[in-house]
Amino acid sequence: MANVYYAPARATGGVKHVVDGTQNTIQSAMSGVRDVLLNATWTLDTMRPGHARIPFIFQVPWGSPDGAGGWTGNAVNPGNGYVYGIWQFVLAIDGVSYNFYNPVAGQEVPPGHPVPIGNSNLATIASLAGELEDWIATAYDNSHMDIEYAAMTYDDVGASSHVIAGSAAITGSTEQPWGGGYRMTSQAPSGNSSFSIWITEHDAHGLGFQFPDLAAGGDPDYEIRMARSNAYDVWANSYGFGLWESGDVPQNPPAGDSYGQNRSIIATRPYLSSDVPVSDVLSVMWGQHREGMHPILFELFKGRMNGAITASTDSLWAFYLPRTNNTRSDIVTTADKPLMVDAIIAMSPDNTIHPRMLGWFTDCFISTDGNAIDGQAELSGNLWDAVRCNLTDSSAGAVGTLWLRVN
């Protein structure tokens, strides 16, 4: 039989993930995923509450007198607290930056998320803060912002010369219904490392997964967002986890769900071949479908090898599969049964050369045919009593099914 490397433990479960106007289903989905991972011997490192008070800072840069009794550029007059002319400021909430600008001046300021605020080119800091409160309440599902501290600091070098430099700032925090989550850590297969994830509610709209190990430049918020759905299946073993929409395979992204369009994800530390001089290998795949094997079908991939993060490019990873002739088709025996082959993951070591085989997805093997998702026909009474099929393709020339052991 194919080589299958087993993790010490496995677990499965199912979660609902429907946004119904409250955050209950998100919280339920998060805790459901958490429990499956706990049953698969992951550890719960820490958690953050769902109603977090997120600090923010609101800064308005100074401008300068225009010599005619007015102000030019971005400006706050420290003498009276008024904001003049063309202004902008940046608000940072939970790692996301928003640029605000004066709609009268009409100047949008990339990068970020330009948001018009204020209706005048003359406003006080206090009035801007009030409008900011309104904006947050609208944009973030009636979350509430408390301005806990407001201060203006400036350095009036000389009133007579009107040379002024400094900044105005409002600091405070906002209570949000998002931002909660669980940080969990896997076990490490021999020769490899563990990895951690945040199970998150990425905002009021859905379930997400953050991968600190895939965070380029220390960005802790690299997040894969899942589409809202009636139900997801969850699978985990000690070294990885998978989550996919229950039931049939949608062929299109969920309509109108701009917050999360992914319907499947599988992330694992492979069991590395002893002949492969690499370490710190992490493989994460996700996409809008539950079909895969062919890189163009499992849309997105990101990995980590030897401490470096690999890119999400079609040609940089693969499961290599048996074939006959020069077109891919089912590979079956005379009894019309598929071959069972090793689930060896190949990744490009440096994002430029072809993928190289590294090791095995644990508790997995591949059959060389397409199968109905969740099907078990070929395996009943056989290798495992019950398995789930995560990746299936029958449409674009790539044939293969990744089977996951569940008990």
Partner: protein, 311 residues
């Protein structure tokens, strides 16, 4: 499954092919040494090969006489008689053979193919006795053999064999034939015909489409640029045009997912346990998707274990 090890005898030998009678005598010695039973026929011998699983095939090898310096081969079994194959002999010609009790690979050292014929290979494969928890009627083979050779009548081109590639490209000439429980898939009535049903070896490749002509593809490699070692599954269709079906695997052989020059006897992938329990020779000449390595004798290593990439 792993390596289907026949237990031998494993024969690797070279012999002279100066004349048809000399060639016939030379190959007889090697096939008999490998365990085949020889029965005299006009101009040559009929050899009976029996696999460790009890399946058998006959091969008649004879000097047809006449002016052409050729030797003919013809595989057969109870239900089917294959096409007449041939190799060209001549002064100074040297042949090599890798044989076991039920299959052989004949070629000339350093020569991948010849329009006049230089390669003949075939025999009985290992067949599944049970699969996925229970045998089925379809898998219970009572008759199974395959054969191919490079002569197909063209004055310019040889047909492709496992000496030149593992996969059979439907646009390439093939001279394969095979039998499975009385179903005879062969190109005898259309020498050199195209067809996807011609016997071939399953190759492990990256998931995209591959090209039989220009191999600008992703090679199948481990991270250190070493090959994947896997079972030499043989597949063919019930007819020349039918989709290939996996029938079993070659005895005493492995596939390395890397191109090696023909007749190489060293590959790093086979230098350690469990493969060093045998000595090996590469039959396939620098084929992008892999090479077929054959056991040519006992090695100095430990007890061979079974690889098991596929079952």
């Amino acid at each position: 499954m792993g390596v289907a090890d026949s237990g031998g005898p494993y024969v690797y030998a070279t012999f002279a092919g100066d004349t048809p009678p000399g060639f016939v005598a030379g190959i007889k010695d090697q096939l008999v040494a490998a365990g085949w039973t020889a029965t005299a026929v006009t101009g040559g011998w009929s050899f009976l090969g029996v696999s460790p699983q009890g399946l058998s095939v006959k091969v008649k090898i004879w000097d047809p006489g006449g002016s052409d310096p050729i030797v003919n081969f013809q595989f057969s079994s109870a239900s089917a008689t294959g096409i007449e194959r041939r190799v060209l002999v001549g002064t100074g010609f040297e042949f090599q053979i890798v044989a076991n009790p039920c299959q052989f690979f004949l070629s000339r050292p350093g020569l991948a193919g010849l329009p006049s014929g230089s390669v003949v290979c075939g025999g009985v494969p290992w067949v599944p006795e049970s699969a996925c928890g229970g045998s089925t009627a379809a898998e219970a083979a009572e008759e199974a053999w395959w054969a191919m050779s490079d002569f197909y009548g063209s004055p310019f081109f040889p047909a492709h064999t496992l000496r030149t590639m593992l996969l059979h490209y439907t646009t390439f000439h093939g001279m394969g034939e095979a039998v499975w429980n009385g179903v005879f898939a062969q190109s005898a009535t259309a020498l050199g015909s195209f067809g996807q049903g011609v016997p071939e070896i399953v190759a492990i490749t990256y998931p995209g489409d591959i090209d039989g002509g220009s191999f600008n593809q992703y090679e199948t490699r481990w991270y250190p640029d070493t090959a994947l070692v896997y079972e030499p599954l043989i597949a063919w269709g019930d007819t020349l045009s039918a989709a290939p079906v996996v029938r079993g695997q070659l005895w005493d052989a492995v596939v390395l997912s890397k191109d090696y020059p023909m007749d190489s006897t060293y590959a790093a992938e086979l230098a350690g346990p469990p493969y060093d329990a045998r000595s090996w020779i590469n039959f396939t000449d620098s084929y992008f998707w892999g090479s077929l390595w054959l056991i040519r004798g006992g090695g100095g290593g430990g007890t061979p274990e079974k690889i098991n990439y596929i079952y």
